[in-house]
Amino acid sequence: MNEILQGLMQAFWLVLSFDSELITISLRSLYVTLTALTISTLIAFPLAAFLVVTRFRFRQAIIATLNALMGLPPVVVGLIVYILFSRSGPLGVLGLLYTTSAMIIAQAIIITPLITSIAHQSMQGLWVDYRNLLISINVSKMQSLGTLMWDSKKALITACLAGFGRGIGEVGAIMIVGGNIDNATRVLTTAISLETSRGDFALALALGFVLISLAISVSFTTHWLGKTERGGLR
């Protein structure tokens, strides 16, 4: 209990004193996760809408696979990305291992199935309502995809938040592909892991509280910007 209080106080102190290392690590965390999130949404939203609107042979198998990949073990993803980008690996020539780029790729792989599945579920419901109308208005397939995504935007924001939450809290994969290198690839989660192994629980907790605050702040900002909770019973 004492350590939790100490952690809280240290977290406040780190934030109030604008600790440069904390700010750098936090910004790097945000950079990695938000970039991965952007890449994932650019893949996930159109893919989800496409899976809703079109019918083809392996559609159900793809949906089932995406749903299964929602629980993709990050450590395994990290290992695969590590092998791909290691010096002797097929993409080793790119020299991305132990860079934020490799961390972004690993996170994007982890969160894309999650965002695709949530987006697919929400757009599927809307498609049941919209299908006949869109066909009767003679809307093209591309226009249907656009309409579905636009009218599902609140659910898609929620999918983004779920992806952000998974990404910002991820440690296994980015530890493997990023290496937790000081001033290069260290982010909040890997820093917490390091401080815990060092036995500095107060600092680890402080970083943890900063991480939680960051995640909550992004969620609040997104809800506020997206006005996702407008209108109630009264």
Binding site: Y130, N132, L133, I135, S136, I137, N138, T147, D151
Partner: protein, 234 residues
């Protein structure tokens, strides 16, 4: 585009016959009413002609290409399908899909909102309006593109008298301006008020297709006689 010819059309679902074989020829002018008891196949026939239901056999022919014909049609469903957008955005949607500019589409939407008495609610979310208001929007949204053919599936089935009258007036006006209307109903009074010709459907088969006066004075089948007498048609 006309005449519209329906030849030997059958629609089956899992080997169960829903309608057919149906042969019909529909002329260019006036309001054709598809009359029949509940379950007689009116909705299935409308959806089959419009392209929402896949034909098991037979063909629907227009004198112009299928793609051109599809662009000249609109459909109003029994339960109005509203986009999760404002009244104005619902009205402008088919115009924007056809590539009209936002300003032109908005001007048209305002004109139609006035016609249906919803100009003061133009910025409200359409799904929050009453059933009658939503159906009026659905009719306006269908007519805003000035289609050559409008299909309506019992559009006033659950509406009050005043709303029913307002929608019927809009349909009469559209018909007088050259839009061919094919509308299903089981409301004999409505058929008497609107029809130029009546297509009487019973157990998925067209039992009669003749001018309204002829249908009312000399019902051409036993089921038609029962229907006109207000008996239960089996």
């Amino acid at each position: 585009m006309f005449p519209l010819r329906v030849t030997d059309v059958k629609v089956n679902i899992k080997r169960k016959r829903l309608i057919g074989p149906i042969n019909l020829e529909i002329e260019q002018n006036g309001i054709s009413i598809l009359l029949g008891a509940n379950g007689s196949g009116k909705t299935t026939l409308l959806e089959a002609i419009h392209g929402l239901k896949k034909l098991s056999s037979g063909k629907v022919e227009w004198t112009i290409s299928h793609s051109l014909a599809a662009a000249e049609q609109a459909f109003v469903f029994q339960s109005p399908i509203m986009l999760r957008r404002t009244v104005a955005e619902n009205l402008t949607f088919p115009l924007k899909v056809r590539g009209l500019s936002k300003s032109t589409a908005t001007k048209e939407a305002i004109i139609w909102a006035k016609k249906i008495g919803l100009e003061e609610k133009i910025k409200q979310q359409a799904v929050l309006l009453s059933g009658g208001e939503m159906q009026a929007i659905a009719v306006a949204r269908a007519l805003i593109t000035k289609p050559k053919m409008l299909f309506l599936d019992e559009p006033t089935a659950s509406l009050d008298g005043a709303t029913k009258k307002a929608i019927e007036d809009i349909l009469i006006s559209a018909s007088s301006k050259g839009t061919k209307i094919l509308m299903s109903t089981h409301d004999l009074g409505q058929a008497k008020r609107l029809a130029k010709d009546i297509i009487f459907l019973h157990n998925g088969i067209v039992e009669a297709h003749c001018y309204k006066e002829q249908f009312l004075t000399e019902p051409p089948s036993k089921a038609a006689k029962q229907f006109l007498a207000g008996d239960i048609v089996l």
